[in-house]
Subunit: 421 residues, 2 copies
């Protein structure tokens, strides 16, 4: 089944918000064996919305609209779709009652334009909204399925998980499975060359995807059942693992922080973090993983010498002699936070994230990472600014990625993390 996702909203086209639904829905549809071939974003404009609908129906079997179901005058999705399908809008009493109770619950005044949201396309399957006032709906006609979903993520995601996913699952009769092999420390084109001989297949497919600081190899197959799909994937999986094992940080783990948290929990070890330039980013990444409290309970953000001394017990003399951005201070920060917390591993970062603060000797992008255990404390020097344009956030993200990967290696003695473990 060929699918297309059409986001409706001028706020996306002027860059006020990011179209995160395209990613969320694409991932969900892929997991259901549905190929998304197009993403389109169009503004709250009658003519262009009409063009998007006509094009979508022509080239796709499943068209999912996100946004434009709000109460305001420029929310047009429902109206234009109904018009293109020559259907009426009819009032849905359950939607109306839901709107009234939602707004009461939120102690929000009920405005007249809210009632516009109680209208649905005649003959559609209505998805009631537990988190907002706009109902979703699905129309299935002449082999084309058109689904309308509200824009706010807090409304769309729960609605998709509760009702829309099962609605779509009943439209397909085979499954698709994927495995993701996550790599750190190797470039995309090198991976492409190493795996050139297995990139041509169609079932399973092998794809290479790069993002800031890492590369992912995704192997996907479709079949009547899980067992056959897994059998199809086994050979390429073994090849990738054999050829790239030393770069693999995890298989089927969501991201680096998930790999680190799993590794720590599997080994019954606790982590602690002392952050200067990353300023809480590593702690926040770790805590973003559900269940991380089992392996993490202490982070210190020490953004000045005073706090490094006072909280992390870094020697004043060391700070004076070498400066805050130095291997000596990274080492003492890592040891300090490990001791305060009683954790098995102390992770530290100190560096110059920019845009200001750099000089010839210590340029923007210079970062020291420390990893401390009761047996040894190691520090690492990183130069993360490829040039003057490199962003503060990028330097912080790359630092967090490196530090978490070193902690993972410590925990697993180089082995990688498998979801199944």
């Amino acid at each position: 089944m060929k699918a297309e996702i059409i986001a409706v909203g001028t706020e996306i086209l002027i860059g006020d918000i990011n179209n995160t639904h395209a990613q969320y829905l694409s991932r969900e549809l892929a997991s259901l064996g549905i190929s998304v071939l197009w993403h389109t974003t169009v503004g709250d404009n009658q003519n262009r919305l009409k063009e998007a609908i006509i094009t979508g129906i022509k080239r796709s079997d499943l068209i999912i609209f996100t946004g434009g179901l709000g109460p305001t005058k420029d929310d047009l999705t429902k109206e234009i779709v109904a018009k293109e399908l020559s259907k009426k809008l009819v009032k849905d009493m359950r939607a109306k009652n839901n709107i009234e109770s939602m707004l009461k619950k939120a102690k929000r005044e009920i405005t007249n334009n809210n009632y516009k949201q109680a209208l649905v396309i005649e003959g559609s399957k209505v998805f009631y909204n537990e988190n907002g006032t706009a109902p979703g709906m699905a129309i299935n006609e002449n082999g084309k399925i058109i689904i309308l979903l509200p824009g706010p993520p807090l409304e769309l995601i729960p609605m998709f998980e509760k009702d829309v996913k099962s609605y779509i699952m009943n439209l397909t009769d085979y499954i698709i499975l994927s495995h993701n092999i996550h790599l750190y420390g190797i470039g995309e084109s090198k991976v492409d060359e190493v795996l050139a001989d297995i990139l041509e297949g169609s079932n399973p497919t092998v794809g290479i995807y790069a993002k800031t600081g890492e590369v992912r190899v995704r192997i996907t197959s479709n079949a009547k059942n899980k067992q056959i799909a897994e059998e199809l994937m086994k050979k390429p999986m073994d090849i990738v693992i054999e050829r790239l094992s030393k770069f693999i940080y995890g298989i089927d783990v969501e991201n680096m922080q998930t790999a680190v948290v799993r590794a720590a929990i599997q080994n019954g070890k606790k982590l602690s973090v002392a952050e200067s330039c990353t300023g809480g980013l590593i702690a926040s990444n770790i805590v973003s993983v559900a269940g991380s409290s089992k392996c993490f309970d202490c982070g210190v953000v020490s953004y000045s010498n005073e706090i490094k001394e006072k909280v992390l017990k870094v020697d004043n003399s060391i700070l004076k002699k070498y400066g805050a951005v130095s291997p000596e201070v990274a080492e003492q920060m890592a040891i300090g936070v490990r001791k305060i917390s009683g954790a098995d591993i102390g992770i530290s970062t100190t560096g110059i994230a920019g845009p200001g603060g750099g000089d010839k000797e210590k340029p923007v992008g210079l970062v020291y990472v420390g990893i401390s255990t009761e047996y040894e404390t190691k520090t690492y020097k990183l130069l993360l600014a490829q040039n003057k344009q490199t962003k503060r956030q990028t330097i912080r993200d790359l630092t967090a990625l490196f530090a978490m990967n070193e902690a993972r290696k410590k925990l697993l003695k180089g082995r990688f993390v498998k979801l199944s473990l």
Copy 2:
């Protein structure tokens, strides 16, 4: 000028990565007075890429392609665009040399497929890549401008800022200006109703945009020069400020953390943060703002009772009596971190972000926030899980937003933040 952004990459269509370039480029083009009317994403597929190019040229004056310039076999953008424009690909020696030096610098092996990236479309303006091996290029023919940019953000953004922006600026002869009024604590449809009478204009335009936990009113005008554009915006600006002042947290500030950092620096005050459920998110948000070291140097992530006691000096008896998720503990955490850090304001969070850990008495989404100064310490009770589907990250984001807004109110005694201040 009508613009369209076409992202090329199967990894976007299967949801592996988010198309962040669409937002970045849309915002940049808006600031140059160019209306982006379409975002399209298409996979690394010959036929669909061809369809996207033909459609783009038909309906848009400026078409920007992102991605598909990589070294691998399935990177097709340059090849297909050249074919559609009936142009040859020619080797660019400076691009070739750049590739060789880039890869040497990165200590990466030079693979044959890298040389594919030294080819450019004949007659195009080439944008050399300081951060990668793929050159960008622009073709200007028959009133249509087609720009090709590399996919990795670390390459695209610096290239756009250094060369592409000025290239595009030379294509237009007027400017567009915007002001953004950021609101917290009021819903989108209420704002729509309050401002209904000023939403119809065309120059300036007034738009309302909602995202998790906040609403933004954007006023935009275009004119021959800055002064005229500002004059056009003055009346609606005054109206919005007059009608919604008590919900405004900032004007022309990037986000809540920027508002808080500005407020603190303007008032010569220092912040400190003790985080349990947000686990470093508030610290990381603050540190993401360049210059935040002037007003922030201490954060503690205390994810267990032990660390709350040991580092933040929360009374063991209080923890035993009321539990970690309680106003009493939030209060002591805020006081504790303020004292440790010597900051003027201590911010604390303790709550249940889920998915586990909730019960009848203390459900997932129950959060206490503490704000402490030398004069008083206040705590706030939040219930942030609208239902079982509410995500851990959402609860953490809403908590951070609330806590930062309370800190802002403390700093400004309710006044809001202006970029110009």
